[in-house]
Symmetry: C2
Subunit: 555 residues, 2 copies
């Protein structure tokens, strides 16, 4: 009997129809590898949620198959779910030096560093996990040490780009390894999974180096202190700030927890070059004249608790924004953050600072490939099958269109959903089914204990507040012993609404009396009588629908 | 004794340090006129709020002085607060035909149309209100019939631009009256108040006509139905959609309450030209082939209840998005709406539609002047004093910088705040004080009954939910007669957290017993014992802080 040839399964557990929470499963027979393990930040309707992680039910069911987690780079949307996932399924982790440096930091915070098997790789390395041979390929992104993966499987080679851009003049001098992509393309690539984030943008993403040029221009004209806010993980950006500061004879101080963390990791691992004596403590700022100071800080997204926001609102312990300061927001608002960013810019201006941000100067470039870069990648790799990843539906769909425009046939492109099983053989591919997938909400210590009902209640409470009605009734005859007492929160100013509250008490009392007259004693009926009566009364008076919580006590 | 010369007071009650809620008071001795009466939409932290209107305490205190409200155009941020303000202070309203048509509609909805004195003016008209002579000057904006105001006062002429752009090829053929601005500038203008919305943008705002050209291109290639979403009030945009539809032999149907309203008003008043037989009922869509249909709809901001969102999520009664449909979002996301717009775009693509939006084609232009237009306005008007209006602090500040760059001296520019009193004489101006100003929150029928405490509670409830603890104690000896009962909402899935809830009951019981042992009977002390104990317990177990509401009943 001839040996049955198995198919490769590619199962995205996150990163499709969303930006963030990237995680892709590769499965061949008894072997599974996982690429990335990211989190996403809560949507507006996920009230009170801290972070969102992928549902890994499928991995837990196939625990013994999982050979390891391979990381493409150290951004939260690629490593952020590790503490939660490793807590349930402890497998070896593979990643480049900086990536694992950031992972280590994260695991330390979760007090789980000692139990985890971390394996440093470098671009060009190959590792074997079960039936998978994985090669790490140098790429460019808005964090150093990012890699694409060439995954050699029994049915053929699959390339996962990870997040990438094509930067011909990268800060560390090491370009994305286009030669290797070309070589692999020539040898034959079965499938490509590629970053879709910037597919809506025409042309090319500018080189990170252009931001350095802008910094030099701005620094050369600055007379007072310079404060630059950027993403902590953008080590190349930080290096460029340091370079500009060095050139104009300024010291560097660092502010913000994650910025301090990343800068320390980057210095330790050799990713940041700071001339001796240049890095000063933020406590020592006043020992230097204003024109010899640069402060690098977090808060470029306007996060209310970040160092920059605290500086702008005089809540930072170590420094405050003063007239004459120059603040640079070296970033672009992540969709959804536009208003918080605008708020911090307004605050900074109000403090008398001059503020430079993306709409005023070229102080930021993206880390993701635009259309022409994507076309280059597709053209080099020449995959048989294509799966657009890392994007909302519109991005995936447009990435598919881009691939078609390059001559790919529609049938070979798979715009998939999280949980889809894409089965691939040497010459065919199709979506054959689905596994459990979705959002697990993390709120404080709770992982998954907040779901739709809890969120629905939070939304209701947030919009109209609540009214609690308590009545104590007699065990014997059901007569009212105390109350109804009414307490409201988040509904109206009680002091200015005494008539309304008094009216509410009256209608509840009447409703209860009517129940008593009709000898109704079932609690459920009493409660719904209270609820309906009060609801009608309040809506008529206020056109609002607070949550109504009737509570009956029995003595 | 020589007659004392009075000063003109300009008091912005809204529109400074914010986008929206525009309202400016002009006062000279016993006369007050009010320019615009707008609302703004709630900020993220204003949970459950419908709209925000200006605090008009100052006007109510000076009721007898107020001679009228003069409107520059019919957008919500200029007319939206009228029903609330007119309810407290009924004065004559002055505005152009379309503006008052929209006001009428609004007043009808509030059932107050009969009691209001509406006066139609047209560009070029002059009216006298007390000591003020007001001239209406034709301008361009994203709604027809917008005017700037030249207000002749006893100390000199003041120009308020209202919202404006300079469109050399407007759809209605009537250009902004640059000649009149030039003439007034030559005669001498005491002060200019000018729109700052787009001051961060270099160059010129494109003409509305360019959007029409894009429509023609898109329509000429379309094979199926075309659905265009835009702002209902952008009548010129709607006219261009109609023109393109006419050219390519398509009928027009209209969807969405505000779109239907505005189109009706615009047709009645002669602002829309629709060839006979071209406008069809949305119920009759299926009588025509797909390539003869254009639907104009609301929902270009991704509003979840709008017609477009309902079409995209199959909740619209009359039509649904189908594969082959072409949807054009002829708009730009208002800051804060980026994610809801992205959501509707994703939904539309998922339905199989092709979607064209701002980042893909020139299907929208702004209604506000960019830097070069602002420079032209300043240069024509040549005011002695300048007050930037309509913008967040950064916009006002940058508008001031722009004026300085044109040669104005810093001392003659006033970056003011809502409530500031700017006193102006023939040759001097200064901020001399402040009046009450601020946000009045409208929630349902309540105007101003939701304030900071209520909002703080809503935020708390929205993030961590609540826990109600009820205990019934004896009047005689304070012993526990029933409870403690614990009810939670928006906190955890109760079914999956029974241990937690049981633990909560135990710690509360213990706390109450301790109180009893120590003969503590004061309700306040009992309540705080419950609160603190439970708070500590829940935070330790979940790292969350739900609102805790202890209620004590006495029998």
């Amino acid at each position: 009997m001839p040996k049955k040839i198995s198919k490769l399964k590619i199962i995205p557990l996150g990163g499709l129809n969303e930006i963030g929470k990237n995680m892709t499963v590769f499965e061949y027979r008894d072997d599974i590898i996982v690429v990335d393990c990211g989190l996403s930040f809560p949507e507006d309707e996920m009230l009170g949620i801290d972070v969102v992680i992928p549902d890994i039910t499928y991995l837990l069911k196939n625990k013994e198959k999982v050979k390891g987690i391979v990381l493409t780079h150290g951004h939260e949307d690629h490593i952020g779910a590790l503490p939660y996932v490793l807590n349930k399924i402890n497998v070896p982790i593979y990643g480049t030096k900086l990536t694992l440096g950031l992972v280590e930091n994260k695991l330390k915070e979760h007090r789980m560093i000692n139990s985890i098997n971390l394996n440093v790789v470098k671009p060009g390395d190959k590792i074997t996990l079960g039936k998978f041979n994985i090669e790490f390929i140098k790429t460019s992104h808005s964090i150093p040490d990012a890699v694409s993966l060439a995954i050699d499987t029994p049915v053929g080679k699959v390339i996962h780009t990870g997040d990438f851009k094509i930067d011909f003049t990268p800060i560390d001098g090491e370009m994305i390894n286009l030669h290797r992509f070309a070589e692999l393309g020539k040898e034959g690539v079965l499938a490509l999974l590629a970053d879709s984030t910037n597919v809506e943008r025409t042309g090319y993403t500018m080189s990170e180096r252009t931001v350095g040029e802008t910094f030099e221009n701005i620094f050369s004209n600055a007379k007072g202190r310079i404060i630059v806010a950027t993403f902590a993980s953008n080590v190349h950006r930080i290096q460029q700030i340091i370079n500009a500061a060095y050139r104009f004879n300024r010291k560097i101080a660092v502010s913000g927890r994650s910025m301090v963390n990343v800068v320390n990791v980057a210095i330790d691992l050799g990713y940041l070059n700071i001339p001796t004596g240049m890095l000063i403590d933020i406590n020592d700022l006043n020992r230097y004249p204003d024109n010899e100071i640069v402060v690098i800080t977090t808060g470029s997204q306007g996060e209310p608790m970040s160092a920059l926001s605290r500086m702008a609102s005089s809540e930072h312990k170590k420094m405050e924004i003063l007239p004459g300061d120059l603040v640079i927001l070296s970033s672009s608002p992540i969709p959804g953050n536009e208003k918080t960013v605008a708020k911090v810019i307004n605050l900074l201006f109000e403090k008398g600072a001059n503020v430079i941000y993306e709409s005023l100067a070229d102080v930021h470039v993206s880390g993701h490939a635009c259309q022409e870069e994507l076309k280059l990648m597709h053209s080099l790799v020449k995959p048989k099958f294509f799966i657009p990843v890392h994007g909302e539906y519109r991005h995936l769909r447009q990435h598919a269109t881009l691939a078609e425009s390059l001559g790919m046939s529609k049938e070979n492109i798979f715009v998939a959903e999280n949980g889809n099983i894409i089965e691939i053989s040497k010459d065919s591919a199709s979506i054959t089914g689905s596994v459990v997938s979705g959002n697990i909400l993390v709120d404080g210590l709770g992982v998954g204990d907040v779901g739709n009902i809890v969120l629905r209640d939070r939304k209701h409470l947030s919009e109209d507040g609540l009214m609690v009605v308590v009545v104590t009734i007699s065990k014997e005859d059901g007569s009212i012993m105390a109350g109804p007492d009414i307490i409201s929160r988040g509904f109206v100013y009680v002091r200015e609404s005494e008539d309304l509250m008094e009216g509410a008490r009256s209608v509840v009392k009447e409703a209860l009396q009517k129940c008593e007259e009709n000898s109704i004693k079932e609690w459920a009926t009493l409660k719904s009588a209270i609820k309906e009566t009060l609801k009608g009364y309040l809506y008529q008076k206020t056109k609002r629908r607070p949550m109504i919580l009737p509570i009956i006590m029995e003595v």
